[in-house]
């Protein structure tokens, strides 16, 4: 084994969506960084759906952008259809989603990595970590090189002991067409990590030339397309549609007929799959009363005939796949270009991590993305960013970055993962955020940009434009609160046209904007200054004014919860000495080792009575004696 002559600050293992963000963050923070991948042509590859965003995921992308990550800019530059979802259901649940040109997406990310200072990009399969006294000191790759580093970030995705299933055939692979990573997870298991097995799947890729599009509904994106990044001015890529098709009774019969050769139902697959992303056979079995299932036929790029039928993943044998896809109206003659498959892979239960994403077992080792049991590019990228930032902060000898549940979806996700662990692939949902109204896409910059700037991930020009926007929002809110209606004839006429004839003279524009009938666009009709307001500022002013009551209430709840959150539980607390805890609760607390009473209260099965017992134990002098 040759030891490489250069020592890195940060080595990132795996160049998927997590690894790219981790490497960029560390390098941008001034650390000597290396990104190792099994295949340099598969950097930031979209192994499953060719899209970014969606509910809660769009929120994550905006947060990544606000913190100085790359994902939002990358999709803005390569996106071929943009949509805002839930426009009528409230500002906090509005979310951005985009289709990507899959090849352009990966190529642009590779270019960004290549052009980044402090960053070396290398191909190689990491077979083991180089450890010394419960500390990571580097990695070793199959070709026989040992790379030394102060910290290592592992973002292996589905590659560790990856096993691909198509029907009852299975073979090792990290993803269709790529080798698995063998050895690393065995080593992690040997040093004491609890390593589990998860399963996910992807649909076949179809040839659009063999689909009768005239039989399908066409779905275009928004016009004009709205970008993800706070710094993207406009989307310049050509925009293309998706198509909507449906399965039918015959499709379901075909599926049912193939279940005896399904690895999922015959017990060959042992890993646990995501409930929110079931295979088509799962849907047919679990919801037999549904007579059809919807699929979006999504383009994989501008220059390819490959398309992705969403929601139609399967691990059934190839003959069943062909018959099934061809049973769908419009797809009668469809040609499969790549078969659907399921993949099983090793993950490391994230309960073994600190909130910084550093492992509790091995110092200076960080885990991000699917290795932590999550699914989704956005979830992965967000963790990669935090892991990269914290590896860099470790190198610099600084305190780790930990976002709270009231700061960001990223904070909610990581807190869920490290306090509760996960048994199935974890996906972000807006319903997981208890302060959903505060964690909006539109205010991600207001929530996080200062942090990104402090870390050194936001360039001066970008930060300056943010500071200006924030200041304008403040000024405009202030102006609206003191500008009053004059009751001119024009005003009265406009307002009665809105059904607001009863508005008094002297009503402030702020009060007016609170009315459900009034939007900022109406102010533009009534008030000269409003006409000049920039759109980003308008949006903030409108939301902050209309939802003030609700927002204030959530802020109060945050303040209350902070009390529980701020009650720290010493890591040395001996739960066995607190006899009054039930055995079940004690086991949970021993396993999870919550850092605060707030975290303890979120562990399922830990009752309010148990929380009060722990809180009493923390206060009691008898416990303090035990602790010392």
């Amino acid at each position: 084994m040759m030891t490489y002559d250069q020592t890195y600050d940060v080595i990132v293992v795996g160049a998927g969506h997590a690894g790219c963000e981790a490497a960029l963050a560390a390098a941008r923070m001034g650390c000597r960084t290396m990104l190792l991948t099994i295949n340099l042509d598969a950097i930031a590859l979209m192994s499953c759906n060719p899209s970014i965003g969606g509910l809660a995921k769009g929120h994550l992308v905006k947060e990544i952008d606000a913190l100085g990550g790359e994902m939002a800019k990358n999709i803005d530059a390569t996106g071929i259809q943009f949509r805002i979802l839930n426009t009528k259901k409230g500002p906090a649940v509005r979310a951005s989603r985009a289709q990507a040109d899959k090849q352009l997406y990966r190529l642009r990310m590779k270019r960004v990595l290549e052009q980044q200072d402090n960053l070396d990009l290398k191909q190689g399969e990491v077979t083991s970590l180089y450890l010394e006294n419960s500390q990571v000191r580097g990695v070793e790759i199959r070709s026989g090189i040992r790379y030394l580093s102060q910290t290592v970030v592992v973002t292996t995705g589905t590659f560790m002991r990856g096993l691909i299933h198509i029907g009852l055939n299975n073979y090792p692979g990290g993803r269709a067409g790529d080798q698995p990573s063998i050895g690393l997870s065995d080593q992690l298991r040997t040093v004491g990590f609890s390593v589990g097995r998860l399963k996910t799947g992807t649909p076949a890729r179809l040839d659009i030339r063999t689909i009768d599009l005239s039989k399908l509904e066409t779905q275009w994106g928004d016009s004009p397309p709205q970008p993800f990044s706070f710094n993207t001015e406009r989307i310049t890529m050509p925009q293309v549609p998706c198509y909507i098709a449906y399965t039918n009774g015959r499709s379901h019969d075909i599926i049912r007929g193939g279940l005896d050769r399904s690895p999922l139902y015959s017990g060959v697959i042992e890993g646990i799959g995501p409930r929110y992303c079931p295979s088509i056979e799962d849907k047919v079995v679990r919801f037999p009363e549904k007579d059809r299932h919807q699929t979006f036929i999504e383009p994989e790029g501008l220059d390819t005939v490959e398309v992705y039928p969403s929601g139609m993943s399967t691990s059934l044998p190839i003959d069943v796949q062909i018959a099934f896809y061809r049973s769908i109206v419009g797809l009668e003659r469809v040609e499969i270009m790549r078969p659907a498959y399921a993949i099983e892979y090793d993950y490391v239960d994230p309960i073994q991590l600190y909130h910084s994403l550093e492992t509790k077992l091995i110092a200076n080792l960080f885990h991000g993305g699917q290795i932590n049991g999550t699914s989704g590019y956005e979830e992965a990228a967000a963790q990669g960013l935090i892991a990269g930032v914290n590896a860099a902060l470790r190198v610099k000898g600084e305190e780790p970055l930990v976002l709270g549940r009231s700061d960001a979806y990223i904070g909610v996700m990581i807190d869920d993962l490290v306090t509760l662990g996960t048994k199935e692939p974890y996906r972000m949902f807006t319903s997981r955020a208890e302060y959903r109204l505060l964690l909006r896409e539109d205010n991600a910059d207001l929530r996080l940009r200062d942090i990104g700037y402090r870390l050194g991930l936001i360039c001066e020009a970008e930060y300056a434009s943010f500071v200006e926007k924030r200041q304008r929002i403040g000024c405009e809110l202030e102006r609206l609160s003191r500008t009053r209606l004059q009751h001119t004839e024009a005003e009265c006429a406009y307002l009665s046209g809105k059904g607001l004839a009863d508005i008094q003279k002297g009503t402030t524009l702020e009060q007016l904007l609170k009315r459900p009938e009034i939007s900022y666009e109406d102010l533009v009709e009534l008030d000269d200054v409003s006409r000049e307001t920039l759109s980003g500022v308008r949006e903030q002013v409108e939301i902050q004014t209309k939802y003030k009551g609700y927002i204030d209430r959530q802020l109060e709840q945050v303040a209350q919860a902070k009390k529980l959150e701020s009650t720290k539980i010493p890591t040395t607390l001996d739960y066995n000495s607190i006899k009054s805890l039930t055995t079940e609760v004690r086991e949970k607390l021993l396993k999870n080792r919550p850092g605060t009473l707030g975290q303890a209260s979120r562990i399922p099965g830990v009752t309010p009575a148990a929380i009060s017992i722990v809180s009493i134990a923390l206060k009691s002098s008898s416990w303090k004696e035990l602790a010392h």
Binding site: A56, F429, S580, L581, A609, S622
Partner: protein, 454 residues
């Protein structure tokens, strides 16, 4: 603060009874048993078996009492700790002495409610049950006891679980349409959401409605007796108490203080407040008494306005009618065995009245029934009724009800985000009674109700 030392207390009521129980809980309970109690038969105490024997004072080398003893080893005991009960003869002196002996074994005197608190902290009972046990200890009437026992059995928890399930169902529907806009879920099922939420709202309303009744059963009601001097207030009180507690004379104004007595009407605890007669007077002491009476009127759950039916209506009677105006009043026409002369003014036509003769006791049972009927509305069989009896429960459910009211206002707008917020607020309110959070149950419900996924 919960230090796991051993505690003891006399757990039967003070005074001389047939039996007196000293209860010990904690690690030292078994040791106390083996030190103080000498079974007649050979061998020590066996868990959950009563033994007959003597309690022995080794220091003075004498037998204190013959007694039964039972040791209940952890965790199968009331507090989930080792519990020892010594059942002695009930003489107060004996019980006191046994307790003193127990305390001399390194055991501390329990604070009020400490056994129950330990049961709660050790997870044997939940918060609503713990509160109910406190109520059982303090119950003063059969109804209160029944209500407390229902609570302990978790009836309230069951009702709240039902409400919670409805709200969770509504929330799961709303959240599914928020988080899965591109999934083929069909149109938002407003009817299903409204049905579930309305059902929950109605049940919360019922529980809140029962609060008043619950409080009445638990705390009893305060009944104030007012009337002009010599109308027969004290005779009525005595009749109700069946003993001469207040001084009854024919000199007007002899009752100058407010006298409180607890009695039981048809299963309802009633705190009877007798008062100074209301009249115009120059007597300073009596005036003080009258002003105290007037102060009490708004605080009473019911005012019994006593009139002398055998006398003419006077300005003093009018003074009383004015003082109780707008308050819950039952007009008691006393001395109805004498020829009737009293005519209430026409404006009081709708006053609820009952005729009695306090001296002979005629009409007293009817009066009791009328009072009880006012507070125990008897909506169905009281055993099926779950009455909310704690202010904490009421406050939590009122929070829930407020959120559901906003939900109703927001529903038309179809702003799902705010609807979800209202439902979550309501769920937190309901959950704070039994201490349950929303967390993962919601996602389980969404995934089991909808076919979701790309």
């Amino acid at each position: 603060m919960y230090i796991r030392d051993t505690i003891a207390a006399v757990s039967t009521p003070p005074g001389n009874g047939g039996i007196g129980i000293v209860r010990v809980s904690g690690d030292r309970a078994a040791l106390v048993g083996s030190t103080l109690f000498k079974p007649i038969k050979n061998g020590g105490l066996v868990s959950h078996r009563f033994s007959f024997g003597t309690i022995y004072d080794t220091e003075h080398d004498q037998i204190v009492d013959e007694a039964m003893a039972v040791l209940m080893c952890s965790p199968h005991s009331y507090t989930r700790e080792d519990v020892l009960e010594l059942h002695c003869h009930g003489g107060w002196l004996v019980v006191e002495r046994v307790l003193a002996l127990v305390l001399s074994c390194g055991v501390r005197l329990a604070e009020a409610g400490e056994f129950t608190r330990r049961a709660f902290l050790n997870g044997r009972i939940d918060l609503t049950q713990a509160e109910a046990v406190m109520d059982i200890i303090a119950s003063e009437s059969d109804s209160a006891l029944q209500l407390a026992q229902q609570l302990r059995g978790g009836v309230l928890s069951q009702r709240l679980d039902g409400i919670r399930a409805l709200l969770l169902h509504g929330l799961a529907l709303v959240e599914a349409y928020i988080d899965f806009p591109d999934d083929d879920l069909g149109h938002l099922d407003s009817v299903a959401i409204l049905t579930a939420v309305d059902d929950a709202r109605r049940q919360i309303g019922d529980l809140l409605g029962s609060f008043e009744e619950g409080r009445v059963i638990r705390e009893g009601i305060a009944v104030l007796i007012v009337g002009k001097p010599n109308a027969g207030k004290s005779s009525l009180l005595n009749r109700l108490l069946n003993e001469n507690r207040a001084i009854v004379t024919s000199i007007p104004g002899t009752t100058r203080d407010i006298i409180e007595q607890k009695i039981n009407f048809e299963g309802l605890t009633v705190r009877l407040l007798d008062t100074a007669g209301i009249r115009h007077t120059e007597d300073l002491v009596e005036r003080e008494g009258i002003s105290r009476t007037l102060e009490q009127i708004p605080r009473a759950d019911l005012v019994l306005a006593v009139f002398d039916a055998s006398a003419d209506f006077t300005a003093e009677d009018q003074l009383i009618l004015d003082a109780v105006s707008g308050r819950p009043v039952l007009a008691v026409m006393n001395k109805c065995d004498l020829p009737r002369r009293l005519q209430l003014p026409g404006s009081e036509l709708f006053l609820d009245t009952v005729d009695i003769a306090a001296l002979s006791g005629a009409g007293i049972d009817l009066l009791k029934q009328r009072v009880a009927a006012r507070f125990l509305t008897g909506r169905g069989d009281s055993r099926d009724r779950v009455a909310l009896s704690r202010a904490r429960h009421r406050d939590a459910l009122e929070v829930a009800a407020r959120h559901l009211a906003t939900f109703g206002e927001n529903f038309g707008e179809q702003n799902l985000e705010l609807l979800a917020l209202d439902l979550r607020g309501a769920l937190e309110g309901v959950g704070s009674v039994t201490g349950q959070a929303v967390n993962d149950e919601l996602l389980d419900l969404i995934f089991s109700s909808f076919c979701i996924g790309k």
